[in-house]
Symmetry: C2
Amino acid sequence: MNARPYHHGNLRTALIDQAEATVRERGVEQLSLRELARQVGVSHSAPRRHFADRQALLDALAEDGFERLGAQLRRAVDAAGGAFEARLRALAGAYVRFATRDAAMLELMFAGKSREPSGALHEVSERAFSVMLEVIAQGQEQGALEQGDPERVGLVLFATMQGIAALITGGMVDAAGLDGLVADAITNFLRGSRVAVA
Amino acid sequence: MNARPYHHGNLRTALIDQAEATVRERGVEQLSLRELARQVGVSHSAPRRHFADRQALLDALAEDGFERLGAQLRRAVDAAGGAFEARLRALAGAYVRFATRDAAMLELMFAGKSREPSGALHEVSERAFSVMLEVIAQGQEQGALEQGDPERVGLVLFATMQGIAALITGGMVDAAGLDGLVADAITNFLRGSRVAVA
DNA sequence: GCAACAAAGTAGACGACGACAACAAAGATG
DNA sequence: CATCTTTGTTGTCGTCGTCTACTTTGTTGC
């Protein structure tokens, strides 16, 4: 009935949604609380009720991003069947896809991590990466990967994926070559990780 | 004689130097043209004579960064002697060291690349990466790496280095484990890249 | 030498932003 | 239905990037 009731109802989620869209389109730097408020149709300081400052909004976005990333990784791995290598390739593909399609989001997600290791953000990010650890552990059980701390073994793989994504978003390599590059990297990783001799 | 002559003399380099220090200490986001001018002791709009806008200053910083990076890589490789693997490990170590010590710089260097593929910035960045290509080519000649376009072969390696740096600066892995992680990654890369059988 | 000109720095203004404080409206609670 | 809390509004402050107009210094040609 009322075009704009005094209470928005769910301003917080509306702000986050709009912020995600803006970040995707124009980058983190261009995200302005005031413009956000305008787009959502509230006064310039209404967001303050939900986010103490700009960084608080960014943290909330990061949290949201980790949830989405975790869900996408999980879905990709689950859809890849039971074979280790297929699951690994699906995982890597899904990660790099997210990293390139939502580059600004990922940047934001990693930027915040350096300051405060506690809190909900850290928890949800751990949950996202747990999928990786599972797949690594599977590879170790099957002898396709060397033994040892899955986290340590997985770090190199994860680093490579992250780096490939950085090359794409940095414009150093064409996005068209993405799949091939990922496939190469995985192949190389598997060859190098298989403990010498069968 | 005069405490502050009207003409600064080399304002441009003074600004760049101060900007580099600030970026290193407080990050790109906190870099303000006005504060920079204050620190150097000129009026708030003096920097405009040397940098059309904030982005122009950032580009200049990036260019400077690529020069420094290239020099450090070159020095590290040259100091490592003639053996391929030693050179490769020195190269990787030097890169990751730069990437972690000057994380904000590197971020800035990569951020600018996406927009304008031409210009001096692109050129100096190519020169920095030429060291990598040389080392890769040497490895191929000696049969330690698979044949093919050096750029393509090196991309995966470079991506891994970049990713490791991202893990460090993102706080996902302790900086103390850096050297070990790099060594592992190189070992893995070499095992995986050596064309099957001798 | 000096007049004209270019280069380099200054002064002031504008609009936008993040942050803050004081106030108002709408719900929730007793 | 009176009170309290939540949520949104209005107004202000200091800072920032950018722009325009002006001033000072150095250079160049006669």
